[in-house]
Symmetry: C2
Subunit: 358 residues, 2 copies
């Protein structure tokens, strides 16, 4: 069963006001999480993970939160050398699978913490022997109650239907959680809020860029490694606010078929951050150039310089934290394109804030 | 690094001839696998899996083979109660992760068995303690050599760039492998080749349907559970042969954002098979109807009757085998739409048969 909870946007505000405000709140939300880690439950969750020493990590999430889970999957695989996977919740709900999950950690990620299929997945995982952690924006939510331990992303109430601040706060919470599992103190992320502020001050750049995509019906987004979740989330924002058919591919998968879609009339957004993922994008950029693609590059100055248009990200950010910054120009772009087209990204057609799927 | 190996289609044949021939070969390929299971390596692989009794299964694959892997992930989670995941190959190649994979089974799936990143993933997994199985269409391939044991899908040489028969042979090989792990004899699949023949005889129905999509630039595909891989593979076929921006969503994920894309001008293909996945699609169909979607339903007669257009699948097929049949009308549709538009699905622009990503 799928039902929805309505929470209409305030009709008195100009379209996109809520989304703009929540995009702008991100650095402040990150500062909260960086200073109130204990209150957020990060210490308790990290201690439990260290104690149980899981052999494998599964993530359960939907929509935007699924992209935060995908980010954390890369973190766990690369930084912790653990096997990791994204569960298909329907196996434990509709199909009633009862897996043996001893030595497994299951992390449920959800803004609202209200999706019944995720609650059920954590219940089943716990009954099957897994350690369960919920990462939500609502400590009073059913998902928080279902897990052994809850991490609050402390993003504050999110009212726009298109999730923005809750996404980057999920990324940061997941980074800080795993950093603490390794005995870190979160110091690597200290510079992020100021860098976020510097990006927000460049909204006019994105507004100018948005005009270029005013009439685009189709778009492709691509990235590799830690930046692949950014490509996925960017495509979802563009779909749900501007109603563009935006498709995301890992750079490697793009070469396996979807490259046939690339033609100069279909804009491509490539995320090319500093680090290994960005380096691995270089042959993808060459393949796109061979097909005369119109590429907008977000990331490294040299990659931006080689593209039709672009948005340069500040240098020096560790690759595993770059996704918090990378998504911001895409959030701003989705909002501008949506508003330019007469839409209201605070309340996209056909969508509500809490989606309940079983 | 990404490079490609060219294998051009025979210029003397009409466009789509190779693809048509390979679509038509599927029932014969399935019969081969059903009768030559021992020669395919199924017994040896199943015995090794039973002996090692892995606690978790990881799949490594790209493109069409990734959809076969996704199908097997559902099989393993639902029928075997094991935790399962799809690896991001870049973590073990570009990022050089060296995970501890004791008690893990890694299955690499690839038509050619030639993708260097998959070979590397299996090498790393094996060094990390995993049992490794390769499922390919080429027993002499590097991937076959890298694994502890190889399963040959016995599809015969595949020359069209768009994979068709190798996909359903992968599905069948993965089903038969896990059936044997449980002590089965493959009997459940015995009726499939004849059912496949009956679908192939209905190519004229699909040809008529293709006219309806002659000018569609965007499409959505959706399914749940075992039919979700069908939705993914259908979208890839339409993308790589007909250059349509086709996007696949699980029915549940569709409700989390992408539903905003749905409007009467964007055709939706819904896979609604008999069984639990099809039942779980009912609220999704209701949501699509609310948005006045133009739905083409592939599957149950009642669901087809409720849609704008559709293609009825034979009843009585066990749900976990239905994906072999479900994809056939989509393969035929992609070919017809591509040819109608003046393309050549045997050799789509920008693509070659073996894609090598590192």
């Amino acid at each position: 069963m799928i039902s929805t909870t309505d929470r209409p946007a305030d009709q008195s505000l100009p379209p996109g006001s809520l989304m703009a405000a929540e995009i702008a709140e991100q650095p402040a939300a990150w500062r909260r999480l960086l200073t109130d880690g204990a209150a957020a439950g990060l210490e308790a969750a990290a201690a439990l993970i260290r104690e149980r020493a899981p052999r494998m990590v599964l993530f359960a999430a939907r929509g935007t939160s699924d992209h935060a889970a995908l980010y954390a999957k890369y973190l766990v695989e690369i930084e912790h050398g653990l096997a990791a996977g994204l569960v298909s919740p329907s196996t434990m709900t509709a199909y009633d699978a009862r897996p043996d999950l001893r030595d497994v950690l299951m992390i449920g990620v959800s803004q609202s913490g209200g999706s019944p299929d995720l609650v059920r997945s954590l219940d089943v995982a716990r009954a099957g022997g897994a350690l369960t952690v919920a990462v939500t924006n609502n400590p009073g939510s059913p998902l928080a109650a279902a897990a052994h331990v809850h991490v609050d992303v402390l993003a504050g109430p999110e009212r726009a239907v298109a999730a923005t601040k809750s996404y980057t706060s999920q990324l940061l919470a997941l980074h800080l959680l795993w950093d603490r599992v390794r005995g870190g103190n979160g110091g690597m992320a200290a510079a992020l809020p100021d860098l976020g502020d510097s990006l927000l001050a460049r909204d006019h750049e994105v507004a100018a860029l948005a005009g270029r995509y005013r009439f685009a019906q189709r778009m492709l987004t691509t990235g590799r490694g830690y930046s692949y979740p950014t490509a996925r989330e960017a495509a979802l924002k563009l779909m749900e606010t501007a109603y563009v058919s935006a498709q995301a591919f890992s750079g490697a998968d793009l070469m396996h078929g979807p490259l046939a879609l690339v033609e100069p009339q279909v804009p491509v957004f490539a995320v090319v951050a500093e680090g290994i993922g960005g380096t691995a994008m270089e042959p993808v950029l060459a393949g796109l150039a061979e097909r005369s693609a119109d590429v907008c590059c977000v990331g490294r100055p040299d990659a931006v310089a080689g593209a039709a248009v672009g948005f340069t990200l500040p240098s020096g950010t560790p690759e595993q934290l770059s996704p918090l910054l990378e998504i911001i120009p895409f959030q701003m772009l989705a909002r501008h394109v949506a508003v330019d087209r007469g839409g209201d990204p605070d309340a996209p057609r056909g969508l509500r804030k809490v989606t309940e799927t079983l």
